[in-house]
Symmetry: C2
């Protein structure tokens, strides 16, 4: 049984604006404690959480045999997993030695930074036809994608043209490259839109809001938490932007 959440969405299709129900995949932060210490927070879909914990910790090299895991308690109210592994002490100690300052990665995988984000103002409004036109342009310019099929792209637009485009194997990296380009070139993001080929997870919405983008557009789907974050920070989140169609998941007033 798929784990989805129903939301109301404004769908634009052949120029018409409809209010319809859409299904979003759920996304939750699962914090894993190993032998009493916080180990990592994974943003994940809340199905098969025990399998996820076992597979993740195995991929991390924390145990060899299933018998090494003497306890694995999963609390589905606050999404925590408490794991006891015999013999993991040495591995855990070594890992800490190698990367003592890696906190950021775990932090950004969690959802801790939303609380610090202020609500975005509504100083940008664009026509729905302009969104479709810019998405079309964006796809034409994704050169690396076309030659290898292996990357995501992100782009900056003034709602008329693509101003900057970045491609990367990681969808987060492509977005970070655009944010970095704006910083390095002193570009005001408040009147621009951010485009991505990737799925809209909560982390991407958080990145966009932290960079003061008011409108984020993707041809892919958002998660439920991405929509919740977008609503909280007053960001216009657009998914499934393909051809003349698009779905507006939050703050639709910026699309006129």
């Amino acid at each position: 049984m798929p784990d989805v959440r129903k939301v109301q969405v404004e769908k634009i299709k052949r120029g018409e604006r409809l209010r319809v129900t859409d299904s979003l995949v759920r996304e939750v932060p699962l914090t894993i404690f190993v032998n009493g210490r916080e180990y990592a927070t994974l943003m994940c879909t809340p199905q098969d959480l025990r399998e996820l914990v076992y597979g993740f910790l195995h991929s991390e090299g924390l145990f060899q045999s299933v018998r090494d895991i003497t306890e694995c308690g999963i609390d589905r109210r606050d999404y925590t997993a408490s794991v006891k592994i015999s013999g993991a002490k040495k591995v855990l100690r070594e890992k800490r030695l190698i990367t003592s300052a890696c906190a950021a990665v775990a932090l950004s995988r969690g959802n801790l930074k939303i609380a610090h984000l202020a609500k975005l103002p509504v100083t940008l409004r664009i026509r729905k036809e302009a969104v479709s036109q810019v998405v079309h342009q964006f796809q034409k310019e994704c050169e690396l994608y076309r030659s290898t099929g292996g990357v995501h792209a992100a782009a900056l637009s003034d709602s008329k043209a693509i101003i900057s485009l970045a491609e990367d194997v990681g969808r987060h990296n492509a977005v970070d490259k655009i944010v970095g380009w704006c910083i390095l070139n002193s570009v005001d993001t408040q009147d621009k839109i951010l485009l991505t080929t990737g799925r809209l997870s909560s982390e991407v919405v958080t990145k966009a809001a932290a960079a003061q983008f008011q409108i984020l557009v993707s041809r892919s789907a958002p998660t439920d938490m991405a929509v919740r974050v977008a609503k909280r920070v007053n960001l216009t989140l657009i998914g499934f932007a393909r051809g003349k169609r698009l779905n507006i998941y939050s703050s639709p007033k910026r699309i006129v």
Copy 2:
């Protein structure tokens, strides 16, 4: 100019087996040092590295104004970035406090674990028609994907049927869920194949090899580093598996 690497690949198309040249997107580990301390390693495409560093560190909340970055040296030989940020001390200290044991995440984003992996044996051989048939079955069963469009899936197959399937917002998580399912159910992975809907980055290949899978299949593209890791550990890496077509990037002898 796209940053790609040409490789030789065995392409299977309408039953014919051809040797062709394919373009793969490049993937490198970029290690970022902030104020002299290792901060994170990002697996990324080696374009726009300065933009990536600025955007990533801004998304992480390490600086507000571009003037706070007093130095940013990028070494393209060993892929390191040395950044000096004025006033980042407090933020860095706080981050360490929150997640003292998060090392694993940074570790798995880097590529440090390949060295520990032994070469996989060649004890499994399957017919190319079986691969196509299993991929077809896999796509039919991706229920959550079809209803939301927002997830990746991974699956386990005995080259006849899909034995287990997992879906998640994260492509790594979906693979981890299958690995965890095998561990929890004492399933031998050596005679099974692992399928994923996601792009084949080096991390996913590493996860598959660590779990002793000999064959990894995706409908998406691999990166150049994914292919290099697959060759090193003797894993059969198959990409672009769609319809009756597929590309074999490494160890083709397992596909007969």
